[in-house]
């Protein structure tokens, strides 16, 4: 029996464990396995194999019996996930239904927690926008005196941005804007005539505002490294959330997971809900993780020298808070009591729309899985408004067609076959930085358990006055830019969406220089448990305005590089 236990323990021991297989976990797994570490990847959901497990990917529009609308039975049972723009008939199987993983929202502080529990996580569903942070973003907290100073700056991460961009495949244009550094770009998508016109008008009117084509994780011209992954050029289907049979956009499923598997060093264990990270009080170090098998509900342990926690921002917080030992009675690494605090997100509440009556002899042809982008222009170099930080914005123009739908009978039928061109419609949506605050937090609701016997997460996050001021400024500024470009019927709209609906939740396990005021050091290691690394959204000290995934990729690759160097130097 004793021998059996020893063998069993040995069989459950790896060089490294990665918790989660989404964007950051996929990168951690790829880097660890490429460097020769036997790596166990734990994924709480089911396996999703590239292509074969994309059940809707080649379905025609008429094959969806509700034409992408979801039945009331589903939307009424799942009000939270139903508020996600991407939750529809063709993609619903990649989203967590509300009752599959309950959580607690603080009274009057609704938070939409949107999750994807499967191999690949939300990398199948993301919006694929990938902008680098600039030095102004990393310098933000120190300059504006909120949160804590970032322990890294742009120069620390820039080579890692390059490293992950080359592998993932990022389309973009080298625009030379210091607030949004250029990257390793594949050829850019086109801006259309009205977007180019707006770009020119804005450049004439404002010296510091730019309209550029979005930077996105789409292969516009495959390089050998993409072909080696079995990925091909993006075919502009714009059905990304179904999973892409061409691997045209970056997902863990199409890219990092199969790459890691090919090394022979990865063991992937789906249906593995991580309960906690094991801190061995005798050895005074983290030795592994406890897992609840989602099918059998059996608790088991796995062991490794290095643990990467990539469970997605809030679940990473939950796991660490639930990792209790004599040494860490308040959660792993939580000597200062700030674990779970300083949660932030992106403010996506406002939009501006309008029409343009020019270029009526022109239209677009084909589809574009991307849009225009307005890099942050507020408070970049110094404080100039009554709110802190700023916002980036999406911008797009589209030549709409319509049909005369009046009447009944043969005339209606004829009209439905003849599309007419209207004016160009133009639209923009804000992506505002929010300020991490102690009062925006997550905590364990110890008396309420999830279906796996793990305490539910209580989320208490809300907008603040800074966010409200920023919404007003965005509406005013973008409306003014639209007016100056001669756009008509300009309308502003506050969509009132809840925090979390942006799906950019960040923080709770923030990086910092001082163990008294942060959880992670500049290498994403827990100050108090150096063989535990957090490289998903939980590590973020502040949010900037950029879509965050590219930064998680770069931080993951950088942290693995450091971990393996430290391991070889016998420091871990």
């Amino acid at each position: 029996m004793a021998n059996f236990n020893i063998d069993s323990k040995k069989a459950r021991t790896y060089d490294a464990i990665v918790i989660g297989s989404g964007i950051s976990g996929g990168w951690s797994a790829k880097e660890l396995t490429e460097k020769g570490l036997k790596t166990l990847v734990l994924e709480r959901g089911r396996d999703v194999q590239h292509i074969t497990d994309y059940p809707t990917t080649n379905m025609m529009p008429w094959e969806f019996e509700h034409r992408e609308r979801l039945p009331r039975e589903i939307t009424e049972a799942n009000p939270i996930v139903s508020r996600c723009y991407n939750f529809k008939e063709s993609s619903q199987h990649f989203f967590v239904k509300d009752n599959e993983h309950p959580y607690v929202q603080d009274a009057g502080r609704p938070f939409d927690w949107i999750r994807g529990y499967q191999v690949g996580g939300k990398s199948l569903l993301w919006a694929r926008q990938t902008q680098r942070w600039s030095k102004y973003d990393f310098e933000g907290p120190a300059r504006d005196k909120f949160a804590v100073e970032w322990p890294i700056g742009y120069d620390d991460i820039a080579p890692w941005y390059s490293y992950v961009e080359k592998f993932a495949g990022i389309t973009g244009n080298k625009d030379g804007i210091d607030a949004l550094p250029d990257g390793e770009f594949l050829p850019p998508h086109d801006l259309n005539c009205v977007e180019k016109y707006f770009k020119e008008q804005v450049a004439k009117q404002y010296k510091d505002r730019h309209i550029i084509i979005g930077r996105a994780a789409h292969i516009t011209e495959p390089k050998q490294i993409h072909l080696d992954q079995g990925r091909a050029k993006c075919q502009h289907r714009v059905m990304c959330e179904r999973g892409c049979p061409f691997g045209g956009y970056f997902s863990s499923n199409a890219s990092t997971m199969p790459w890691a598997m090919k090394t022979g060093n990865m063991t992937l264990r789906p249906h593995s809900v991580v309960h906690s990270v094991i801190y061995d009080d005798k050895k005074q170090k983290v030795t592994g993780v406890r897992v609840v098998d989602a099918n059998t509900k059996e608790m088991m342990e796995f062991y490794a020298n290095i643990i990467f926690v990539n469970a997605a921002a809030l679940n990473t917080n939950l796991i660490l808070m639930n990792s209790i030992s004599s040494r860490f009675p308040n959660g792993l690494g939580n000597d200062n009591g700030i674990l779970g605090k300083y949660i932030a997100f992106h403010n996506y509440r406002a939009t501006v729309s309008g029409e343009y009556e020019g270029f009526l002899d022109s239209t677009t042809d084909g589809k574009r899985p991307n849009s225009g982008y307005i890099p942050r222009f507020r408070n970049v170099h110094q404080q100039e408004t009554d709110f802190l930080r700023g916002y980036a914005a999406g911008f797009g123009a589209d030549r709409r067609t319509y049909n005369d739908r009046s009447g009944f009978g043969e005339s209606l039928k004829e009209n439905l076959a003849q599309s007419k061109y209207g004016n160009w419609s133009v639209g923009s949506h804000m992506m505002g930085e929010t300020i991490p605050k102690e009062s925006n937090y997550v905590a364990l609701e110890k008396d309420l358990k999830d279906p796996f016997g793990i305490p539910q997460l209580k989320i208490s996050v809300a907008y603040d006055d800074n966010d409200e001021k920023m919404i007003k400024d965005y509406m005013t500024q973008v409306s003014e830019m639209f007016e100056k470009a001669g756009f008509k019927n300009i309308r502003t709209h506050d969509n009132g969406r809840n925090p979390g609906n942006d799906i950019h939740e960040m923080g709770g396990v923030r990086m910092g220089k001082d163990p008294k005021t942060s959880l992670l050091n500049k290498w994403n290691q827990l100050h108090a448990a150096k063989n535990v690394f957090v490289t998903d959204g939980a590590c973020m000290t502040s949010t900037a305005t950029q879509n965050p995934s590219l930064t998680y990729m770069a931080l993951s690759a950088r942290a693995v590089d450091h971990a393996v160097k430290e391991m070889k130097a016998m420091n871990l």
Binding site: R237, F359, T363, R405, E410
Partner: protein, 172 residues
């Protein structure tokens, strides 16, 4: 005369050799339609209404493309009880108006009479009935324009464009 009685009489007159359509026998037993929201008789009226909205010409009309079933399916699965009751009541009203104005079932009206009946509802003042027709019309247009036939043969849907050109001349 009740329509089912008329049909039975007609069948009797023709020596009971008429094969009753499936929906008609279903109607007799008050069976529900294949979709399951409406009874078979109302589902038949709905199929006739969607055909009036988008009729067969040299290309198939809404009925042939199964749009009646689509409308019923959408209302059953995606709309609330009020809209479902409104669909049912609206189809009753169509029959009632038909009887009142033409002394015939909607099925037995000429195409022109069917058209003018719907136009009358559209121009009328009964808000519930207009709401019913608006819903059925919108869903009919959706079901028709997103049907395989129309997307393949008329609007030429491209699953895989493989391109985006930002500025091309409008085709005259």
């Amino acid at each position: 005369m009740e329509r089912r009685v008329a049909l039975k009489n007609m069948a009797a007159a023709m020596g009971a050799m008429v094969v009753m359509p499936a929906w008609a026998s279903g109607w007799n037993t008050k069976a529900v339609s294949a979709v399951g929201l409406l009874d078979a008789g109302k589902a038949e009226t709905l199929a006739l209404v969607v055909e009036t909205i988008i009729p067969k010409t040299d290309t198939p009309g809404a009925r042939e493309l199964g749009v009646g079933g689509f409308v019923e399916k959408m209302v059953k699965d995606c709309y609330d009880a009020k809209a479902q009751a409104g669909l049912s009541a609206g189809l009753d009203a169509v029959e009632a108006i038909s009887k009142k104005n033409f002394n015939k079932s909607y099925a037995d009206l000429t195409k022109q009479q069917q058209l003018s009946l719907l136009e009358g509802i559209d121009k009328g003042s009964d808000a519930d009935l207009k709401g019913f027709l608006g819903l059925v019309k919108n869903l009919t247009i959706q079901g028709y324009t997103s049907s395989e036939y129309v997307m393949t043969n008329i609007t030429h849907y491209e699953m895989i464009p493989a391109r985006y050109h930002g500025c091309v001349p409008v085709k005259k």
